[in-house]
Symmetry: C2
Subunit: 319 residues, 2 copies
Amino acid sequence: MRAVTIAGGRISVEDRPDPVPGPGQLLVRVAAAGLNGADMMQLRGLYPAPPGVPADIPGMELAGEVVALGEGSSRHHPGDRVMSLVGGGAQAELAIVDESVAMPAPAALDWPAAGGFPEVFTTAHDALASQCQLQSGERLLVTGAAGGVGTAAVQIGIAIGARVVASVRKPDLRPAMAELGAEVVDPSEAGAHGPYDVVLELVGGPGFEANLPALAPGGRIAVIGVGGGARVALDLLTLMGRRGRVMGSTLRSRSLEEKALTARRVEAELLPLVEAGKLRVIVGEVFTLESAPDAYARFQAGGKMGKIVLISCALATGS
Amino acid sequence: MRAVTIAGGRISVEDRPDPVPGPGQLLVRVAAAGLNGADMMQLRGLYPAPPGVPADIPGMELAGEVVALGEGSSRHHPGDRVMSLVGGGAQAELAIVDESVAMPAPAALDWPAAGGFPEVFTTAHDALASQCQLQSGERLLVTGAAGGVGTAAVQIGIAIGARVVASVRKPDLRPAMAELGAEVVDPSEAGAHGPYDVVLELVGGPGFEANLPALAPGGRIAVIGVGGGARVALDLLTLMGRRGRVMGSTLRSRSLEEKALTARRVEAELLPLVEAGKLRVIVGEVFTLESAPDAYARFQAGGKMGKIVLISCALATGS
């Protein structure tokens, strides 16, 4: 099979042996696989793949068709349209998926949208619903809201009934964000639009410190992205005075059992909203698997709205 | 009545009118009132008293005898020995206590111990049990463990079944801390004795940053004290990798209803351990109300083990 590979900080596309599914696993012919910040960190050597996952084939999410089952797999069948988080290895023509983590790919999503769904919607839902327990009527700030997780989080926040403020750096991306139903602000003004019950921090850096005083009493900050700087200043007295909480999280480091639980929550709480047309996967740009280096360069350039997705083979274009 | 007063950053002891209990309140003849870090911050103008509390009489906890009831008060009666958190005003001969927050003062505690119990045991129990959900078998680090909250937290941690590491700066305080059942370390070595499931941060400053990498996966940091520095550096990638949480809290800013709930948990979960002799209030030094300026100076000098408590009138010495 063809696969995106990482070696020495460089991206290329190479031939690799087809993977073989083990017990409880599915072999999936990949139609689409989204790019994520974690891939960029892996490229820089900062986010190594966990054990049991191809060390040099990136990709944390995919959508495709089941082509073979490992021993004991029974939840899905050959020919099923599935989408899933994976620990790595998604950016290839074939990939291994743990069937407990796979979800059905709803008919409402075409392949690029399904390939860009799992990581950002699972991440945003886990942060907002499970970790921060965002409630209807609360005020939510999403920083760096125009990216993949951001566009998912804004939609989930609105679906929960929160009042959503989206901070977006590039003025030309603001109208599309406002269409999703958020109040859109420049990052420099986000602190003045609080107080916020929940902050989804997708940027880090100086904005983290600037927005802390805008936290409401009992406010929660979930840190998911740090492209603007991982090392920040934290005023503990402000945090104490707000009775605030700062929570860090990554999906990748979780056990298979935790990921399976997370997938069940997404299936139960988000897929009905997808099928009802209330959640859309915002796909910014699509690249073929062979042009993966261009896709990575585009991701790193930033300033995009929504997901960047790789598509592979006839499956994706024929859907 | 005589009362400790704060004006322009200075402590004095002055005559003030006797307070009058309102509906649901008790008038208490104060036998003992502990000093706390919050008093020092109030002295520096950093921690103003909430509405409805004497603005210039400090003191957040007391023990004493009920002498009069406000309208509708029925949980306690004149002559009862009580102890309680208050929003302020405890460091005086008479003080107002909301009866929903008052607890019976167990016979196992003499007046100085009862006057030094509410703030530190409620703070430590709330942080460890309610916020961090410390579990039996988990590893707990208490920084600045020799102080009032620290000695309470070490004992509560051990009662919960945690393995407790206590960081103590002054070598001469370490043997007494080890007697409480903790593994005692120098602050500079605390990071090497992890990983910690829970950190009770009572110091802040550079140690906060140094100990973060010692957080276990899913670890929780409760920030209660920042005498070593409120502004710290936080590495968000480390927090994300650990799926860690940093929680700030103060008791003072909570609503009366929340304080009442907290008091009921302390009554139910800690007072039986006090009566069984499993929790001791470590009283470091006792001062009379009239010598409050000396007590404050002693508190600010630091390096003490346990609580500094003011006692007032014949009640305390006669018990």
